[in-house]
Symmetry: D2
Subunit: 137 residues, 4 copies
């Protein structure tokens, strides 16, 4: 590690890995909690987002732990999924693990957004723009 700038980058990555693994864990626990509680917590949208979040957090963490130089791409996807999952949890309110899960997703989103520098959604045409407009949060 040659200089302070690289060290800072390394610290940011380590923190991002921590956020991804914490988010991965709380999403799995929230998923289990939703299934147990049933009712409106078991709606398709949030459950699917929780499963999405588990998988992309895991993949994103693996890329960084492996030292892959394409981690910006998986971090970008992870930030996007975490944002949508956090919004879904926030809308479901304060039952069970929802608040803790939303917090973990927001932290992971912010951290992954920082690691994904340079990757941006860029609507290429009206249809794509509409698709983005329809996406959660």
């Amino acid at each position: 590690m040659a200089n302070a700038e690289v060290m800072r980058g390394d610290d940011a990555m380590r923190e991002c890995i921590d956020h991804c693994m914490a988010c991965h864990r709380v999403c799995l626990e929230t998923l289990a909690d939703c299934l147990k509680r049933g009712s409106r917590l078991a709606e398709p949208g949030p459950l699917r987002l929780l499963m999405d979040c588990v998988d992309i957090c895991e993949t994103s963490a693996r890329f960084m732990l492996r030292g892959s130089n394409l981690h910006s791409r998986t971090c970008f996807a992870c930030a996007e999924v975490c944002a949508a999952c956090a919004t879904a949890c926030e809308e479901l309110g304060d039952e069970g693990l929802m608040e803790a899960c939303a917090d973990a997703c927001r932290s992971c989103e912010e951290s992954c957004r920082g690691m994904s520098g340079g990757v941006m959604p860029q609507p290429l045409n009206p249809e794509a723009a509409q698709r983005f407009a329809d996406l959660p949060a």
Copy 2:
């Protein structure tokens, strides 16, 4: 399924899932083959890219099979990783499973690129631009 346009979208997704799962499989086999053959095939770069490709192909397929509306993000990441992995395999030449792996990666890249409409790498500053310039292919 209401009309021909939606059907076409559905067919494209089904085909993309097939490509992701085929690529996931041949990358795992190529990884095993590289380890057995050793020597220059076992260099860090290609092995790491093969592992990356296995993980993102799996995640990308999961998002589509689950009907997640954020699959464009994982497909974008998958297209990028497949492109880099294909290039690495092509450079390693015709030993073992390298050619078959490169082919599977190229097909998966093209298919995922089509599913990722609207997500584009957009260098925000010189440092990020340089980082992209340094990325494989």
Copy 3:
């Protein structure tokens, strides 16, 4: 490949990989279908088993594709989970993808059971001790 016996073993493994990947796929599709249909299909038990089945099928396939000599352990776990998932799908009846999912799970169970030959849950005797001693350095 030296002789017919090895060939047969190789064919059985290839078939088992196919079953694991097919089961992995239909379980993910069934999961999505259950979420869409809601009601009793979205009960915690079956959903959790479907998620379990997706994960262990994937891991079991990876072990075999990588040529890992501990695949008997993951195949054993996979056979057990597939059996439970098949039973859950059969009990939920003929709605949606349930029958197709049960069939895929039964095929995968049988195939993985065959690949898990020497697995013992209680390695407390000389034979088992020897097996551990023989594990890859």
Copy 4:
């Protein structure tokens, strides 16, 4: 949580999840370190075992976090893989992360061994009982 016994079981599972996730992480880091160092650390056996360990630790943690009652099967497989991976790391000596990785594998092995103790869910009916009776050893 009704009584102390259940609490103890719950604590053991939480600890086991921690061990699986810590082992998953250090194995990924060790894998990256081996690739960077090259030479004898990049032999097929250890690399394959490290990849195996990453995958089964992840799956094992997921089963427990999801509250799956088949976690004893994945914990059993995890204990076996961790044992083999620890031995491989110990034999490779004190270079890089090998010692830390061996330690994490041993802790995870022990913890998973404890969770796989019964390796039996409650047989609910004669058919299930027969199925268990037919299981290997």
